[in-house]
């Protein structure tokens, strides 16, 4: 029996009345200050309309006010769970404008720091997704591992969240002498943790059945709505900017692109592009990131960590450039327009979460209210990246 009919038989004539509920902006499972106006009939939603902007800090406007290098710390605040990527994207765009080539050692440091940051960001996403659904135990396990990554990145660049590590022309600091063995030791440890994670939650029968076949996004819809990164790949396309349009040190590494294959299993009702695919693609990406960091440490080249000829005053010639990188929440693109001055004429940050929010109104139609929480968590949206 369809849910609508079920409601009708249970409540008779009083059914069919629309109730409008506010979820957020201070709701623990909205992942930041986001408000959802839920139009519901009992437990079934007619639609959930996201209201964003609570965390708008006018970062694009600030980009027109400060100098090119001065904007770098602000990029950290675009996505504070994966700030390395925001750094890297902006640095790449300005380097493209300047025509700078970055030394290999700096590119490797960028790749290492980004992949570690990707694991940290995915751990938060996976842990909080499990918690939103009701499995509280995995979250502290995920946070414990993320703490180690924060410690490693702190040793590398002195900050735990807002790194300001990538600079225009290279990175801020060289790798400390004793850092590499520490990192290797942690990677060996993390391999075992990933196996443990699968036993703990990924293959937990209740968890898988809860997410199988839920809020399916077909590939065509995902592309049309502009989903990127893990959300897009979960819908069954093998596309990763690190492979499709390689940048930095990524051509040197050998890694696979995980994509949605109905991991929940057809007998449980798993469909390509359901919530469990979005969950499990991230778990697999963590494994790939570990492999990339290992390869980068093995091949770590000597040399400079900063391009030798970075001008003190950065004044690119008039023109425009766009950089596209594969961030933790999918494609992040910086579009920087220069008019020849010391300050950018326009800085635009295209982020994955912003458009992932746009799909929620369409997807929420006919879902239960409890499923909305799973949907938001599976899309891995964070408020600062939406609002900028």
């Amino acid at each position: 029996m369809a849910l609508d009919q079920l409601v009708m038989t249970k409540f008779g004539e009083t059914a069919g009345e629309e109730m409008i509920l506010n979820m957020g902006p201070q709701h623990p499972s909205t992942h930041g200050v986001i408000n959802f106006v839920v139009h519901a009939d009992g437990e079934v939603m007619k639609k959930a309309v996201p209201q964003v902007g609570y965390l708008h800090r006018a970062i694009e406007k600030i980009g027109e006010i400060v100098t090119y290098p001065g904007f770098m710390p602000y990029t950290d605040r675009i996505d504070y769970l994966a700030a390395m990527f925001a750094n890297e994207g902006y640095a790449l765009a300005v380097e493209k404008l300047l025509g700078l080539t970055v030394p290999p050692r700096a590119q490797y440091l960028r790749a290492i720091s980004c992949e570690l940051n990707r694991i940290a960001s995915h751990l938060i996403s996976l842990g909080s997704m499990a918690m939103d659904i009701g499995a509280v135990t995995p979250f502290p396990y995920a946070l414990r591992e993320r703490e180690s990554i924060n410690d490693l990145l702190e040793a590398l660049c002195g900050a735990r969240l807002t790194y300001n590590f990538h600079r225009i022309g290279g990175v801020g600091f060289d790798m400390p002498d004793d850092w590499m063995p520490l990192c290797r030791k942690w990677l060996d440890h993390f391999d075992r943790i990933l196996d443990e994670w699968d036993r703990l939650i990924s293959f937990n029968e209740i968890f898988v059945e809860r997410l199988a076949g839920l809020a399916v996004i077909p590939l065509e819809m995902a592309i049309n709505y502009g989903l990127v990164g893990p959300n897009l790949r979960a819908s069954g396309i093998e596309f990763d900017l690190r492979k499709a349009h390689p940048y930095g040190a990524y051509p040197d590494f050998d890694f696979k692109i995980p994509f949605g294959k109905a991991y929940a299993g057809a007998y449980r009702g798993g469909v390509v592009g359901d919530c469990f695919d979005r969950f499990y693609v991230r778990v697999l990406e963590c494994r790939e990131s570990v492999s990339i960091v290992r390869q980068a440490l093995d091949k770590f080249p000597p040399g400079e960590f900063m391009a030798p000829k970075v001008p003190r005053k950065i004044k690119p010639e008039a023109g425009e450039a766009q950089s596209r990188i594969e961030a933790a929440r999918g494609e992040m693109a910086y579009y920087v327009v220069s008019d020849g001055g010391e300050r950018a004429y326009r800085v635009r940050a295209r982020t994955g979460s912003f458009l992932a929010m746009g799909i929620i109104e369409e997807l929420s139609k006919g879902l239960m209210i409890a499923d909305l929480v799973a949907l938001i968590a599976s899309l891995d949206v964070v408020a600062p990246e939406i609002d900028r």
């Binding site: 694009e60 709505y225 596309f239 008039a318 023109g319 450039a321 766009q322 494609e331 327009v337 635009r348």
Partner: protein, 209 residues
């Protein structure tokens, strides 16, 4: 399944639409071309539906403001997953009229990005299903990313003007010094020694100086 270059895509478009597609700008970094706003939808539909172009992904939609030219340029970044090529186009709109066709019917991702451009640049999109402010509050005045935008003094009785904390410190410092000067007797030898006691920011005196 073959990627086309910018030039090849531009040639296809120019061959089909003639003058509605501007010349390829020899921009130093990323080349782009302009579309005539009147035929924007038509060209975009062609970009999306033609099998060898197949731009199924509207990667980015934003704008730049040019008050001296009295123009707002709406910037479109297209990408094709089947062919893995991209294309950049701009459509120029008058700053006063600032109205252009919405491409939401072709790419749903345009819905939120056009709302953002409407919010921050004040460009209205004809045919948009839900054109509301998205990042700023609904009753906000002005388009913040326009170059000539100046903030109002506040929003809903919340002032956005803050005193410079340094001014506060300096005025406190002046007051303190005035109080000290008033408390000191006007004798010559003592008043010469007094400032040194309170002048903390001064470097310590060199030994033997």
């Amino acid at each position: 399944m073959s990627a086309l270059t910018f030039e090849q895509i531009h040639q296809r478009l120019a061959g089909k639409f003639g003058e509605a597609v501007g010349p390829l700008q020899p921009a130093k970094k990323d080349p782009f071309c302009t579309f005539a706003p009147a035929r924007l939808l038509e060209i975009c539909r062609f970009l999306k539906s033609e099998p060898d172009l197949a731009f199924d992904f509207l990667e980015d939609l934003t704008a730049t403001d040019h008050p001296k030219l009295n123009l707002i340029r709406v910037v479109y970044h297209f990408y094709s997953y089947p062919h893995r090529h991209m294309f950049i186009a701009k459509a120029e709109v008058n700053r006063q009229i600032s109205e252009i066709d919405s491409v939401e019917q072709l790419w749903k991702s345009a819905n939120w990005m056009e709302r953002e451009v409407y919010d921050l640049f004040g460009v209205r999109f004809k045919g948009h299903s839900d054109l509301r402010r998205i990042l700023m509050p609904d009753d906000w005045v002005g388009a913040p990313l326009r170059k000539d935008y100046s903030e109002a003094g506040g929003y809903r009785d919340i002032s956005n003007v803050r005193d410079n904390p340094l001014d506060l410190y300096l005025s406190m410092d002046r007051e303190l010094k005035a109080q000290q000067a008033a408390a000191q007797p006007a004798a010559g030898s003592q008043s010469a020694a007094a400032p040194e006691q309170h002048a903390a920011p001064n470097p310590p005196a060199k030994p033997g100086a």
